[in-house]
């Protein structure tokens, strides 16, 4: 656990939206995908994943539909709405500016 980084507040939303921007997926798959892509550095806890998904849905950024998973199970698939796509772009650029800024500060001091 110690080698995994706790997610900064607010970045989870960004990661979820980025992940489902590629294709609709269900909750567990979202967590797995984030974990895989980050080389197991980022681990999403269920306790934050589902509230985040519901919050995003509630805010109108993402929408959910029942579908069938690879293992032929009924699952709730999340996908971005139009507004969500726009929101993702702003969030990404925000994040890039923030991380660039943080990196600069860390390097130059």
């Amino acid at each position: 656990m110690s080698d995994q980084t706790d997610l900064i507040q607010g970045t989870l939303d960004l990661l979820i939206m980025r992940t489902i921007a590629l294709e609709p997926m269900h909750g567990w798959a979202v967590a797995q995908r984030i974990q895989q892509i980050s080389d197991e550095l980022l681990k999403v806890q269920q306790g934050s994943l589902y509230p985040a998904l519901h919050r995003l849905e509630h805010q109108g950024w993402i929408t959910a539909e029942w579908g069938t998973s690879d293992a032929n199970r009924r699952a709730r698939f999340y996908s971005l709405t139009k507004a969500g796509k726009r929101q993702l772009e702003t969030e990404v650029s925000k994040w890039e500016r923030l991380s660039a800024g943080v990196n600069l500060v860390l390097k130059r001091t």
Binding site: H26, Q46, G47, Y50, R55, E57, H58, G60, R76, A83
Partner: protein
């Protein structure tokens, strides 16, 4: 777009809560299974994998809760949860719930019923076209205030101002009348109106038409428009009624149309007008009203006009001022009379939207209405404080539950919300019960065949009132107990100290509430006693003539198509037959009875060249034998006999009240007065008799003695309607005998009333009796509620002190001592409450006595406005509350005294 998603998702969350919950569970379940599969794929044995996954997963419920919170529907969920929980709790404590709903239902029902009466009389508006352009026009009295009525001749002058008014109409005050239809004679409310009536108001008849100007000409065949309510209620909404002939006051009248559904009459005080007749029908139908040819003074009309486009109210006022001056110059005689009816030289114009009944009556009506609402409001206040007491007691009993929940992490806010929702649920149920009770009560009221009919319907205003009232009461009685119940000391409550510190403080919320209830009940009982006093006084005044052994029978010959000479012969025959009935000592024909008189305007001859003034008096057309039969004592002069005929000078017998008030001396024999409508009707006073209660005359139900004079129907030319007879035995069989004789004379004659005189007298006191009964009911309701509260508090205190009582009894205290210690507390509370209530009562009475100089409101001066402070009544009230207090303390006290000390000590 996004807004749409948000709205949709929120709506779904709220509406499809169950599905959302299922979705969430299923989603989490899927996640868990995927996790397990992953572990299994990694080579972990399945049960171990499940274990690991579950451990990783953490609390499922917490995740669910957090997800729900993320949706923002948590508050609504909590509300729904609290409501369900509250409902379960109320169902479980069904005894408490039933009591509370009953208490609230009674109080809210009483309030709703009273409000719906006030609503019917004062608030209901009617749909008039462009009401802002309508004005009411009144002639002024000599002091410049608008009079109750305007004369027909003044109306015709007003109607000439066509440059100011687009349309003008006059409608009479509602008159009581009778009609014959389908073989039965019934009471009706009759109005006389001009042909312009409905057009001026901007309304359309719902069927047929309004009468036109040709039908308004004198001598035209009689026509009438039927009121919508009468049409639906009495004629079963039969459209073929238009064109048919109905006999009104004995005259054949053709129905030409049905009035609009939402129009109830010229003066809309809830009396639905049954028939509108043309103004010219007055002399044909009601002989004693003669507006068309009468002077400017005494014709009872209300005038409304519609302003022409572009004409302002100020312009209308100016034009009417000019008219007023012209009238004063042209008819100086009309403005010379003095007295109550005297017309002054002025005309008032008021926007119709600013007037409800009459500019002068609106204020007093509103005052009376608010007074009545305040009185029922007091009952509601008692019910509220009563429920607050019950909830306080219940809250204390639930202290443990509350502290457990607080200890489990519930916030105080949540608990208060929870308790408030419970009381709101209670009050909602109470409100529904109240509406049901009010509806039932009003149906019962409508079922009684009143001579007039107030249109009581539950409209949106009444419903809103009841629901708002119940919700407000819910918060009022629920908040304080909820706040108090959640302010608990966790440690001591949870440790369950059987022997709790006894609260010796005097000024607790509970005690204050009890004292308040007792005090308000005393006030209401005080009101009851005042009305009972007044009613008793009225009764004492009225029975100043002997009614025992007297029976009466009223018929109406006009409906049988008799000519006047035939009618007289028939009545003579009837009288002869009745006098021949064995046991009958005397009998007389009469028109009107002491409790059933009609008012007239008279002018009294001052005797010493003084100019006459117009005064108001009641009149009865009596006959020889009348005073003997009712045993009304003669004070001066003589009564009528057969010498007073149509061709001899007119004579009258007056009451001592009239003699003293209008002639300045009891012995007024030889003085003269005349009808205000007829300058040639001088009548000489030949006798003065003792006063009788005249009852329903005027609005003065509780001050029943007004000036009254008797004329002989042999002289006045009016037909008698009633025969009275005195027997030496019981009056009840005589009633049947009178009816038998009437049938023997002519089997087709209708029996309007056939009663013993005692019954008739009782019936004439309906109004004061109803008022006293209403007050009594409210007072007893209040007292009953207060005693329930007292009982609950005492019972609870005893339960809480059971261990203390057990110890005392184990140490040798006797049961009397235990009962006494309990009774002392109760006596204190009732004593303080009664004291405060009595002081308030006396203060209110003193204020009413001091401030009742303003009797000048045109609707009588009820003597109840000047209540006498009766120490006996006050003592009786104190005794009643004391008895109730003792009763409330007795049951729990006895239970405590009978307690087995061992059981009490082991309590809990």
């Amino acid at each position: 777009m996004r807004l749409w998603y948000i709205l949709r998702s929120r709506l779904r969350s709220i509406l499809f809560r169950d599905r959302r919950e299922r979705d969430l569970s299923e989603e989490l379940q899927l996640h868990l299974e995927c996790e397990i599969e992953r572990h299994v794929a990694d080579g972990v044995p399945e049960h171990e994998a499940r274990h690991q996954a579950l451990r990783m997963f953490g609390g499922v419920e917490q995740i669910k809760e957090a997800s729900r919170d993320a949706r923002g529907t948590a508050a609504i969920d909590a509300l729904a949860r609290d409501t369900r929980h509250g409902l379960r709790r109320l169902v479980r404590d069904w005894r408490f719930t039933t009591a509370a709903v009953l208490i609230l239902g009674l109080a809210i029902g009483a309030n709703t019923a009273i409000f719906s009466v006030v609503n019917a009389v004062l608030f209901r508006e009617e749909a008039l076209a462009d009401p802002d352009r309508l004005v009411n026009i009144y002639q002024n009295d000599r002091a410049g205030r608008p009079l109750v009525v305007t004369s027909y001749s003044a109306y015709t002058e007003i109607a000439e101002y066509t440059d100011i008014f687009a349309a003008t109409m006059a409608g009479s005050m509602p008159n009581p009348g009778r009609y014959l239809y389908d073989g039965a004679v019934r009471d009706a409310v009759v109005e006389f109106a001009t042909a312009t009536y409905l057009d001026t108001l901007g309304l359309r008849p719902s069927l047929g038409r309004w009468f036109d100007e040709t039908e308004e000409r004198p001598g035209a065949p009689l026509v009438a428009v039927l009121g919508y309510q009468a049409w639906t209620r009495r004629f079963r909404a039969d459209p073929s009624i238009v064109g048919r002939i109905i006999r009104i006051e004995g005259r054949p009248v053709t129905i030409v149309g049905i009035a609009p559904a939402n129009h109830r009459g010229t003066v809309d005080i809830g009396l639905g007008t049954d028939f509108w007749l043309p103004v010219t029908a007055v002399p044909a139908v009601f002989a004693n009203l003669a507006p068309r040819d009468a002077s400017t003074i005494n014709a009872p009309f209300l005038v409304k006009a519609r302003l022409r486009e572009g004409v302002t109210l100020a312009q209308a006022k100016a034009a009417m001022d000019v008219l007023a001056q012209r009238l004063a110059a042209e008819y100086p005689d009309q403005f010379r009379a003095e007295g109550e009816f005297a017309v002054g030289p002025g005309i008032t114009v008021v926007a119709s939207t600013d007037v409800r009944i009459h500019p002068q009556a609106d204020g007093p009506f509103m005052t009376i209405a608010s007074l009545v609402l305040v009185i029922v409001g007091l009952v509601l206040a008692i019910a509220c404080s009563n429920l607050a007491t019950l909830l306080l007691v219940r809250g204390a009993a639930r202290a443990k539950e509350v502290s457990v929940r607080l200890a489990m992490g519930a916030t105080r806010r949540q608990l208060v919300r929870h308790l408030l929702i419970e009381s709101l649920l209670l009050s909602l149920a109470g409100g529904i019960a109240g509406c049901a009770l009010a509806w039932w009560g009003m149906r019962a009221l409508q079922g009684i065949d009143f001579p007039f009919r107030v249109d009581l319907t539950v409209d949106y205003r009444v419903l809103t009132f009841a629901i708002l009232l119940s919700q407000v009461t819910g918060v009022v009685f629920g908040l304080a107990p909820a706040l108090k119940a959640t302010r608990v000391d966790l440690l001591t409550t949870l440790r369950d100290e059987g022997l709790q510190p006894i609260d010796h403080r005097r000024l607790t919320l509970k005690n204050a509430l009890i004292v308040f209830q007792v005090a308000v009940s005393v006030l209401l009982l005080g009101g009851t006693s005042v009305f009972l006093q007044a009613a008793a006084a009225a009764r004492a005044l009225r029975v100043d003539y002997a009614v025992d052994g007297v029976a009466m029978l009223e018929t109406d010959l006009r409906f049988a198509g008799y000519s006047e000479p035939d009618a007289r012969r028939l009545f003579d025959e009837l009288l002869r037959r009745i006098e021949a009935i064995p046991g009958v000592q005397s009998a007389a024909l009469v028109r009107g009875l002491p409790m059933d008189v009609h008012g007239v305007a008279i002018v009294v001859d001052g005797g010493d060249g003084q100019k006459g003034s117009t005064l108001e008096a009641a009149a009865i057309d009596a006959a020889p034998g009348f005073f003997d039969t009712l045993r009304i004592a003669l004070l001066h002069g003589r009564v009528f006999d057969l010498r007073d005929r149509a061709d001899t000078p007119r004579v009258a017998v007056i009451t001592e009240r009239m003699a003293r008030q209008y002639f300045g001396a009891v012995n007024a024999v030889g003085r003269r007065f005349r009808s205000a409508n007829d300058p040639n009707s001088w009548t000489e006073v030949i006798g003065v008799v003792r006063d009788t209660g005249t009852g329903d005359f005027d609005d003065d139900v509780l001050d029943p003695i007004g000036p009254l004079f008797y004329t002989s129907y042999l002289q006045s030319g009016a037909l008698p309607t009633t025969v009275i007879a005195r027997t030496s035995g019981d009056a009840a069989p005589l009633v049947a005998a009178l009816q038998r004789e009437l049938r023997a004379v002519d089997i087709t004659l209708p029996v309007m009333t056939a009663q013993t005189m005692a019954q008739k007298l009782e019936g004439s006191q309906a109004v004061p009796n109803v008022i006293a009964t209403l007050f009594g009911a409210l007072g007893s309701l209040g007292l009953a509620l207060a005693s329930i509260g007292l009982y609950a508090v005492v019972a609870f205190a005893v339960a809480r002190r059971s261990r203390e009582i057990g110890i005392r009894m184990a140490l040798g205290a006797r049961s009397q001592q235990v009962v006494w210690s309990i009774a002392r507390g109760v006596a204190g509370l009732t004593g303080v409450g009664t004291g405060i209530g009595l002081v308030l009562l006396v203060l209110v009475m003193l204020v009413m006595r001091a401030g009742s100089g303003s009797a000048d409101i045109g609707i009588g001066s009820l003597s109840v406005y000047r209540p006498t402070i009766d120490p006996v009544a006050l003592l009786a009230i104190a005794a009643v509350t004391a008895v109730v207090g003792v009763a409330a303390a007795f049951v729990p006290g006895r239970r405590a005294a009978r307690m087995d000390p061992l059981v009490a000590l082991r309590h809990e």
